[in-house]
């Protein structure tokens, strides 16, 4: 928790009534294995949600369903008014609205940092190259690494790579950002720089879904913490209630394990 030093003022971060993501009665199986069971989750525009839970509980699978990196078998996922079905047009539409940051960054190693950031805007959004580069530099400045623009990902530290990955997503001007354990492949001293980037994103009102074990981050910026276990949402609450007054036994056990030592 000590990684979050800056006091984050969440009072001005307004959550609108508009629904950004609506998941209802969603189920997913891997073969015979029922990974996600009856998931119901509504995310409003501007909301910042932290998803936590023990390993293997289906957190990654859940957020990967939101941009259809994984396919769900029953129920409904509606993102920004577009329902995810096997219709490729809808999938493309959702993917261009939703940015995703991965645990292992997944930068393209054969492209420079700048090219990583301009690739999708140029090819998907058909933005002219010069304009795409300007946007990319804007976001690279924002994540505080404009000077690395012409290097290759392999030349950057883990924390820098993850900030590039965030900038790369932002270049598509997404309305929703998904984070899958963005800091868990990083050394402790690099976690802070990535979390700071994410906090400033939250302060600008980005809708965020974040799988993370950084409870300090959850307390500082989340509107809601969602706790998952065995493929189900076990508990959701405001961070204050969630940490100080957990309801279910599983949550208590999880919190004692993660905060106890």
């Amino acid at each position: 928790m000590e990684t979050i030093e800056r006091a984050v003022d969440t009072s001005h971060m307004k959550v609108s009534d508009e629904v950004a993501i609506q998941i209802s009665q969603m189920n997913k199986w891997y073969g015979q294995f029922h990974v996600l069971r009856d998931i119901n989750l509504t995310v409003n525009r501007g909301e910042r949600i932290v998803i936590c839970g023990p390993s293997g509980s289906g957190k990654s699978t859940l957020i990967r369903c939101i941009n259809r990196l994984e396919e769900h078998q029953s129920g409904q996922i509606v993102v920004d008014g577009t329902e995810l079905t096997s219709d490729l047009k809808n999938i493309d539409k959702v993917r261009s609205e939703v940015g995703m940051v991965f645990q292992h960054f997944n930068l393209f190693p054969h492209l420079t940092i700048l090219e990583n950031c301009t690739l999708a805007p140029i090819w998907v959004r058909k933005v002219p190259k010069a304009e795409a580069e300007e946007t990319a530099m804007h976001f690279l400045r924002k994540v505080k690494i404009p000077e690395q623009a012409n290097k290759y990902p392999g030349q950057l530290s883990g924390g820098q790579q993850q900030r590039v990955a965030i900038a790369r997503s932002l270049c598509m001007k997404p309305r929703i950002m998904l984070f899958d354990e963005p800091t868990s492949a990083l050394d402790p001293e690099m976690i802070k720089e990535v979390l700071d980037t994410m906090i400033s994103l939250a302060e600008e009102g980005m809708t965020m879904l974040c799988v993370t074990h950084e409870m300090g981050f959850a307390q500082a910026v989340a509107n809601r913490v969602v706790f998952m276990d065995q493929g189900q949402i076990v508990e959701q609450n405001t961070p204050r209630e969630f940490f100080n007054n957990p309801q279910s036994e599983r949550t208590k056990l999880f919190l004692s394990q993660i905060l106890g030592h």
């Binding site: 990196l69 393209f108 190693p109 054969h110 999708a120 998907v124 392999g154 030349q155």
Partner: protein
């Protein structure tokens, strides 16, 4: 370390030591010899054995090359010169055969007054390859690379200029149809473009060509495929098959990975079938069997048939090499491409293939080297490859009857130059594309 003793806990250096050369036994040749050749008794024995073998080989080879004769008209004359100069019983290389017959090894039975055409084609080939092989050459010259196959064809085979022009026009027709349709439906556009090009080539190209030839009879003296031979033949087949098999191999590799059942099955069957059959079988098929299947009277050039077979053969191997490269890519790369909204073709072209091909460079170049050497197998379908076809022709002449080693060494040496060149290029390319500065 030693500064931790009781009296010397504090230590400050006041004079800086000058740089000194390492002791002789620790540097230069002595050190290298000790570390690499005499580091233990086993290594020492192997070194001595190796030196003996090397000595034996050189004892035979060095005099043979040292006594070589470059100026002679016949084998008998050459042997005589060696005997006169170095004494009776001395052995020497009659490299005069190379000097006497190099045009035959190079051009086969290509008409001598037209030698300039293959030579010009070779020069243009290098010009066409430059922008593809070296990033320093302006990209714009690629336009010439795209035109080269048509220019090269015309120079080598001659005939009316309208043959390559209407062939090229087929691509233009296909491209125009694709451009017109691409906005509406990508798949339909591709299919229609292919169909339009086929219609052009099969039904329209012939009459158009004859009409144009009637109006403007621009033509080079035509040369028949049976006159091709030697390195002109090897390079014609090799270069065509190499440049055609790479794209085909990429498509097969992607097809094999495809989710679409039909495409996947076809790719797998094709790859496994072609890899399971010796190249010579395919060449015999090309030369004999196809005659049964094609309508009688069709004049389907034998070199073209061989190029098709060699291409298919190499493509199957390249597809497997590239599959290895594709498998080496982390899944995260595909996911990142998907998450950014790139479609299948964009993801393959911009993210997957550049990385997979880079990993596959050594394997691809090995396949190309193998392909180039395999062009000598065309001798089995009656074409005059440099290694056996032309060498046999030379050895059958009265002047050089009985010569054995020299032609093979010469042809082997030329093949080595080409293959070694490809190998060095692949290493250069790997170094240039190295991006993981870890």
């Amino acid at each position: 370390m030693s500064e931790t003793g009781t009296q010397t806990v504090r230590f400050v250096r006041d004079t800086m030591l000058p740089e000194a050369a390492p002791p002789a036994s620790q540097s230069g040749a002595v050190k290298w010899l000790r570390e690499n050749l005499f580091s233990g008794w086993l290594n020492t024995i192997l070194t001595i054995l190796g030196a003996l073998v090397l000595f034996q080989i050189l004892r035979g080879l060095v005099p043979w090359f040292a006594h070589s004769v470059w100026n002679a008209q016949t084998l008998g004359e050459c042997r005589q010169i060696i005997a006169e100069t170095w004494g009776e019983g001395a052995r020497g290389a009659c490299l005069a055969v190379v000097r006497d017959r190099w045009t035959q090894w190079t051009f086969g039975f290509y008409p001598a007054h037209l030698y300039w055409r293959p030579v010009l084609a070779l020069v243009l080939l290098f010009a066409a390859l430059a922008p593809i092989l070296f990033s320093a050459v302006p990209r714009r010259l690629m336009a010439f690379s795209a035109l080269f196959p048509f220019v090269g064809y015309w120079l080598l085979w001659g005939g009316t200029i309208w043959t390559p022009v209407v062939a090229l026009a087929g691509f233009v027709v296909g491209y125009a149809v694709w451009r017109g349709m691409a906005k509406r439906n990508a798949l339909a556009a591709v299919l229609l473009a292919v169909a339009a090009a086929l219609v052009w080539w099969l039904f329209l190209a012939g009459p158009v060509e004859r009409a144009l030839a009637g109006v403007a009879p621009l033509a080079l003296e035509s040369v028949r495929s049976s006159s091709f031979g030697g390195f002109v033949l090897a390079l014609t087949i090799g270069v065509s098959a190499i440049s055609l098999s790479l794209p085909l191999g990429i498509m097969l590799a992607l097809g094999r990975q495809s989710d679409m059942f039909l495409i996947k099955t076809l790719s797998v069957c094709f790859i496994e079938f072609i890899r399971g059959v010796p190249l010579i079988t395919l060449l015999f098929t090309a030369s004999l069997l196809l005659n049964y299947f094609l309508p009688p009277g069709t004049n389907f050039d034998i070199i073209l048939r061989v190029i098709i077979m060699v291409t298919l053969f190499a493509a199957a191997y390249i597809a497997e090499v590239i599959r290895g490269g594709l498998a080496a890519l982390p899944r995260g790369q595909y996911e990142a491409a998907d998450a950014l909204g790139l479609d299948y073709f964009q993801a393959q072209r911009l993210i997957v293939l550049p990385q997979a091909l880079k990993i596959s460079i050594p394997g691809i170049v090995s396949t190309f080297i193998g392909l180039f050497k395999d062009t000598t197998l065309v001798v089995f379908v009656g074409l005059l490859d440099p290694l056996k076809g032309i060498t046999d022709a030379v050895r059958a002449s009265t002047d050089w009857k009985g010569i054995y080693w020299e032609p093979y060494i010469f042809v082997g040496f030329i093949f080595f130059l080409f293959c070694f060149g490809m190998s060095r290029y692949s290493m250069y390319l790997e170094r240039r594309l190295k991006r993981d500065h870890r």
